[in-house]
Symmetry: C2
């Protein structure tokens, strides 16, 4: 098998800093975790909050702390630091080679989508962001690592896209439309979701938008780990 | 402008864990850093050492500590922990949007290559790994961020490839040969270097091998940040 992860991310229109922070880290017992946080409001303040949360989570995961416990610790740290006045959403997607599962941790009102074969599930059980109160609990889903599994996670820049002009995004339909193509790459799906959200916001994103797609497939090539990053630099 | 980073990484033959650790982190003042460490020996012990070093460096960079100071702190921590008996190489490549430079930090006998236009420079000034003694200093190169810049960094799995059968790798020539093609992607170059090293080791890498390529180019598309990760899973 192989796991492919793709991320696409843009800032809110006319802001130089995204309030969304996304980092990937290798898990100490094998596999990797992707951590995505969206700090309240946008710009510099939101960035500081989402970075605080992501760093706290990364530090704990690196020590071998379980994902759910790391999310709760980050919530307590944020609540203590900001006295409950600032909230932050959190999603963790972990490929755990010890249990051979994908572990999805969510403290985010925005749903996640899980595609297995032809079945598209929307995970939208109520979930609160970090920092809102003491003892915030994440929702955790553990899914067997098997070819054909696709997980789609995003920040509320996607769920709120188009609301300004009364044309909200049909996320499930967009995912289905892309997946009808011949085995699209995760980057194709992430780009399509981001592109549709930006289009509905009339090319001026009303919020920071981040999309994360994780895909499990049969081994399709060599045993090389690969990573690519593209960082556009403004105005130069 | 845009920066593209590509990584290709394989384990030593018949080991399930790489002693090389590579992580990417967003810098608190803009830009990002790639941190690559190679722990002494291979397998589980080496992994623990390189993870210790990378985590220490990531934690400090996230707090805004400068790259050179982070490298020295990681060396002191390793020296204290292992009493000078275990060493670890370290490379940091940072895209610093504050100074508009690429900052290259090296505690690694293996050289780095810098390509600017047609000029290929080999940076091979003597450099010692972390943990070897007290007060280890990194070599630091700061290079203006401008289109056409390509930086190539690797662990000693590349420099030692082929030595077993007396056919050492011609790294500079391999880089030149790839760059003669029409604007190759960083992933193409990273894969070519890794592929050549594995070939010289007769498809049984004698050591963990990691290759990192950073390329600065004129903006070639939208303002979307992207990342992809590919994780092959053994024997499934």
């Amino acid at each position: 098998m192989e796991v492919q992860i793709a991320v696409a991310k843009v800032n809110k229109y006319a802001t130089s800093e995204s309030g969304d922070t996304l980092e990937v880290i290798e898990r100490p017992n094998g596999g990797l975790s992707v951590v995505l946080a969206d700090g309240q409001t946008s710009g510099r303040g939101a960035k500081a909050v989402s970075q605080l949360v992501v760093r706290k989570v990364l530090g704990l995961l690196a020590e071998g702390v379980r994902d759910g416990a790391a999310a709760r610790a980050a919530s307590d740290a944020l609540y203590t630091d900001k006295k409950g006045k600032v909230i932050c959403t959190l999603n963790i997607a972990s490929v755990d080679l010890h249990s051979n599962t994908v572990v999805l941790t969510r403290n985010n009102p925005a749903p996640m989508y899980i595609l297995r074969g032809e079945t598209l599930d929307k995970l939208d059980a109520e979930s609160v962001p970090l920092g809102i109160s003491r003892d915030v609990r994440p929702l955790i889903s553990e899914i067997a690592l098997e070819p054909g599994l696709v997980v789609v996670i995003f920040t509320d820049g996607v769920t709120h896209a188009g609301e300004r002009r009364g044309t909200p995004m049909e996320i499930g339909e967009t995912i289905r439309a892309v997946m009808e193509d011949q085995d699209p790459t995760p980057q194709t799906l992430a780009d399509a979701l981001l592109g549709r959200a930006v289009e509905l916001d009339e090319n001026r994103p009303a919020d920071d938008i981040s999309v994360l797609v994780l895909k499990v497939s049969t081994r399709n090539g060599d045993n090389v780990r690969r990573m690519t990053v593209r960082l556009p630099i403004d105005g130069k």
